[in-house]
């Protein structure tokens, strides 16, 4: 896949987009902790959750919520397993059906960003450089996704849904290109969970 060469972008203005493209090209694997805050249309945080995120390009990721409840989202070979411990339910869906353009998918390299999004540099605040991704397809479940890089590495994300609710994600302990155990990306359904495979 050759990335469309950005047109003669002035170095400063388009810096964040270039940084993102470089980051996506350079980072073959990634692990990070995350904090996720849901913010409703009137700006009140409604729920905060914590977890871990692993990524192996191309096409493999694990997005686990650990607190306040446990959910596992694992993707490889074009499928996504979603498991909620309390609900004791596993659903398996094809990647494009289940999570469409979720951030994990964006970063996993399964989706070529340029084909599916227009990318706009949002400039720099503090040491964070932000890029806005606007879905080209109308039926995306997001209005936009913001990806924040700090010193060239993934640091934050923000997703705005069609109601104006925001999902803000803060990454920490980000480690790039460390070897990751492949079992991280294999999902073993626990005993007794209802498993539904329409993937």
């Amino acid at each position: 896949k050759t990335h469309a060469k950005p047109h003669a972008a002035k170095q400063g203005k388009n810096e964040p987009v270039i940084q993102l493209q470089v980051f996506l090209k350079v980072s073959k694997s990634l692990s990070a902790d995350f904090k996720q805050v849901l913010i409703n249309e009137v700006g009140n945080p409604t729920q905060t959750s914590y977890g871990v995120f692993y990524l192996q390009r191309p096409g493999k990721f694990r997005w686990d919520y650990q607190k306040p409840f446990k959910q596992e989202i694992v993707s490889n070979t074009g499928k996504v397993w979603f498991y909620d411990t309390d609900l004791e339910q596993v659903t398996v869906k094809k990647v494009d059906e289940s999570l469409g353009s979720t951030p994990a998918l964006l970063l996993s390299g399964d989706v070529a960003l340029e084909d599916n999004y227009t990318m706009e540099s949002q400039g720099t605040d503090g040491d964070m450089q932000w890029v806005k991704l606007l879905p080209k397809s109308q039926d995306s479940s997001f209005k936009y996704v913001l990806i924040g890089l700090s010193k060239g590495t993934l640091a934050g994300m923000e997703l705005s849904d069609n109601f104006g609710q925001l999902t803000r994600i803060y990454f920490s302990n980000v480690i790039v290109n460390a070897p990751l155990k492949q079992t991280l990306f294999e999902f073993k359904p626990p005993k007794g969970a209802d498993v539904f495979n329409d993937g």
Binding site: I73, D84, T102, D194, F196, D198
Partner: protein, 177 residues
């Protein structure tokens, strides 16, 4: 919020909860799973109950694919955001067709707070009751202020099983956003 310590509960009795019929407003936040031969899905759920209307928000992890259902009387509105709104005055059929939510919401709004729908027959079981051909089972309860409210419950018939985990209850003064 710390994980919810389950409350030991004796056999289910409606009488012990009948005062809850008087609650005018409540809000719950949690997770829902539906299992049926046709389809299975799970979602985050926020439900705001007002005296004569229900507002339910379903969304996937990371908040994507959000849908808001508003039910008042026999009119239902399904809003997928960005101007994509559909309404119908056959709520039960429309909701089941559009969202695969195959359990009647009008009844679920009673069942969710641990009560049989008022004015309909029911038979009590050890951990819930049977009503309208559905088996409602309260697996775990939780302390919510002075009340004991469902934390983990299931609603099933021979084709469909709905599982609901309520992570947070707001009773009475529940603000709906």
């Amino acid at each position: 919020c710390a994980s919810v310590p389950p409350v030991h509960q004796g056999a289910y009795t409606q009488a012990a909860r009948a005062h809850l019929y008087g609650i005018q407003e409540w809000r719950l936040q949690g997770r829902l799973a539906v299992v049926s031969p046709k389809d299975s899905w799970s979602a985050n759920i926020e439900w705001g109950h007002l005296p004569n209307s229900e507002k339910i928000r379903l969304s996937g992890p990371l908040g994507q694919g959000a849908v808001v259902i508003e039910l008042a009387g026999n009119v239902v509105k399904i809003d997928r955001g960005g101007g994509n709104v559909q309404t119908s005055n056959h709520p039960e059929q429309f909701i089941s067709q559009q969202l695969g939510l195959l359990v009647p919401l009008e009844s679920l709004r009673f069942w969710a707070v641990g009560l049989p729908e008022s004015g309909q027959d029911f038979q009590e079981t050890s951990d819930g009751f049977v009503q309208g051909g559905w088996l409602i089972a309260y697996k775990e309860m939780q302390k919510t202020g002075v009340e004991t409210m469902p934390h983990k419950m299931s609603v099933s018939d021979e084709h469909v099983k709905l599982k609901l985990i309520v992570d947070r209850w707001d009773l009475n003064g529940g603000k709906t956003n």
